[in-house]
């Protein structure tokens, strides 16, 4: 049965985040942040959570390999900076050791007496927001496919890699459907690579998350991204249902015009591993 391989240090899985940094990502969301800022925050938080889940008293266990590819006016390249920018996918411990910087942020915590107090927490940053130029989506997906072929060749027994692709617009370098389809044919012995597409929008109220057919989608672009998205792997149905999404075996891991909550949920559900050992 696919998507059942246990994830361990000797058999890690991979998450590859593909982020649109085109000019339109500077549009403001209701929070006042730009789409690029908000996506960067969610991505940094997601990487942080993956690291924390895998950190033990003796260090970070390499249950996951991580990569970030960004595309926009500057072309396609690693979304990581510093020493991580030299290749696409890295073991989790290398990512942990090489944030761009560690910011301090405040969060509200229980003061133990019925109130809330501000607490300063460390917030590592690996990915900075950018927004300029066009949307070379096809070239980005081609580079993803190359990285996945290499990764799957060296991890035949692993849970297959998951690609989380975030965009707010249409490809400016061609039709991505064929390359998306090829990408989903790259596989390990445990199943085909998963491609999760998230289209984001600055307005609220018109989001469609995890649809099961094209019929509920409003236009040709959304239908294209639907067809480019993988079906829900069975073990991710429950985490989505727990968040009140009415998903079924027919649902695609795709979000259209996702708002703030939709973006957060998409990353959260999409990075749930199967059996973390």
């Amino acid at each position: 049965m696919p998507y059942t391989a246990e994830i361990s240090r000797s058999q890690p899985t991979a998450f590859l985040f593909v982020i649109d940094q085109s000019g339109s990502m500077d549009e403001k969301m209701p929070t006042g942040k730009s789409k690029a800022d908000f996506v960067a925050d969610v991505l940094n938080k997601t990487i942080y959570q993956l690291i924390i889940r895998s950190t033990k008293s003796d260090g970070v266990r390499n249950y996951f390999d991580l990569g970030v590819l960004a595309y926009g006016g500057g072309g396609v390249g690693s979304g990581f900076g510093g020493s991580l920018s030299t290749s696409v996918i890295h073991p989790l411990s290398a990512v942990e050791q090489n944030p761009l910087r560690i910011d301090s942020r405040t969060k509200k915590v229980d003061d133990g007496a019925g109130g809330l107090v501000d607490q300063t927490v460390k917030f590592p940053v690996w990915f900075d927001p950018k927004s300029s130029g066009g949307t070379p989506m096809c070239e980005a997906l081609r580079q993803v496919a190359q990285a996945l072929v290499d990764w799957c060749n060296s991890h035949e027994r692993s849970y297959p890699p998951t690609v989380i692709h975030v965009t707010d617009g249409q490809s400016t370098d061609g039709d991505p459907e064929q390359i998306a389809s090829q990408l989903q044919n790259i596989s390990t012995n445990d199943g085909a690579a998963l491609l999760f597409n998230l289209h984001i929008d600055a307005t609220e109220g018109s989001a469609v998350l995890f649809p099961s057919s094209e019929l509920s989608l409003p236009d040709a672009h959304s239908k294209l991204l639907f067809r480019c998205s993988s079906q829900f792997p069975p073990h991710l149905l429950k985490p989505a249902q727990d968040k009140s999404y009415p998903v079924s075996n027919e649902s695609r891991f795709f979000g259209y015009k996702a708002d703030i909550q939709g973006i957060v949920d998409f990353f959260d559900i999409g990075t749930r591993a199967s059996e973390l050992r």
Binding site: I52, K56, S57
Partner: protein, 265 residues
């Protein structure tokens, strides 16, 4: 009243790590004292900063004799000990964050008293009573499907132990029998009349496997009762993982009974 010549004792106790390449990462902890008829097991949760240490702190604290009252004080004590032994001052940013997220563990305490057996269970580590070769009682779970729910585990983050479940259950942790009207995590079992009865303690992967209600139920129990060495247990677990869908996890087994119980003579 139990016949003193029939005193129960540990007949077998072993643990097998989930990753044979990393035996040191086994997060199950066992503690046994036949003189005090006390058998303690704790299963540290995989997604924890240092559940091996937390399980060890819990087991050793119960073994040393925790208070029969003042549960909040006991919890404060054990979480403080966990913190002291964690080396907080020399942590990386990710270790600090993972430490703050906490560690989680179950706790199973079996005490063979004069006229009955006391079983205290927090989480999904289970005790099973075997009479005439079949399981007649189990606690806290009775069926394998119960292992699918999220267990209530003791946390190193004290605020995570403040839940309606713990408000009731934790007070009974090691309370005297007279205090147990409200208890949700403790039972007393009378000693079975049969002299070949056994009490088995197992962590969740084995518990789920043993409590499945299907054609394989009896065969699984028979296989467990045939285990005599750690090698036998490793073989049984390897076979069950490969052929019978046992979840890969640290797996521990304690068998308690009379010394002359047939399979163990």
């Amino acid at each position: 009243m139990i016949d003193p010549t029939r005193t129960w004792r540990s007949l077998f106790a072993e643990t097998v790590p989930k990753e044979s390449d990393f035996p040191e990462s086994n997060e199950d902890k066992l503690r046994i004292c036949n003189d005090r008829h006390l058998y303690i097991m704790s299963d540290g949760a995989s997604e924890s900063f240092n559940s091996s240490l937390w399980a060890d702190v819990l087991v050793e604290s119960v073994f040393a004799g925790p208070p029969c009252s003042g549960f909040a004080r006991w919890l404060k004590q054990v979480t403080a000990e966990y913190r002291d032994r964690s080396g907080v001052t020399s942590m990386s940013w990710s270790q600090e964050a993972a430490f703050a997220r906490g560690s989680f563990a179950s706790l199973l305490v079996v005490e063979c008293l004069a006229d009955e057996v006391s079983v205290t269970a927090i989480g999904d580590t289970v005790a099973l009573l075997v009479e005439n070769g079949i399981i007649t009682r189990s606690f806290p779970y009775k069926d394998s499907y119960q292992f699918q729910q999220r267990p209530h585990l003791l946390s190193t983050v004290r605020s995570k132990n403040i839940t309606p479940y713990f408000a009731v259950a934790l007070r009974s942790l090691l309370a005297k029998k007279s205090c147990l009207a409200e208890a949700g995590c403790k039972v007393y079992w009378p000693y079975p009349s049969s002299t070949d009865a056994l009490l088995i303690c197992v962590t969740d992967a084995m518990g789920e496997w043993l409590l499945r209600q299907d054609v394989g139920t009896q065969g699984r129990l028979d296989a467990v009762l045939a285990v005599r060495t750690q090698g036998d247990l490793i073989q049984l677990i390897d076979d069950a993982r490969r052929e019978d869908g046992m979840r890969r996890d640290d797996s521990s087994l304690i068998v308690i009974g009379e010394g002359h119980v047939a399979p163990y003579t």
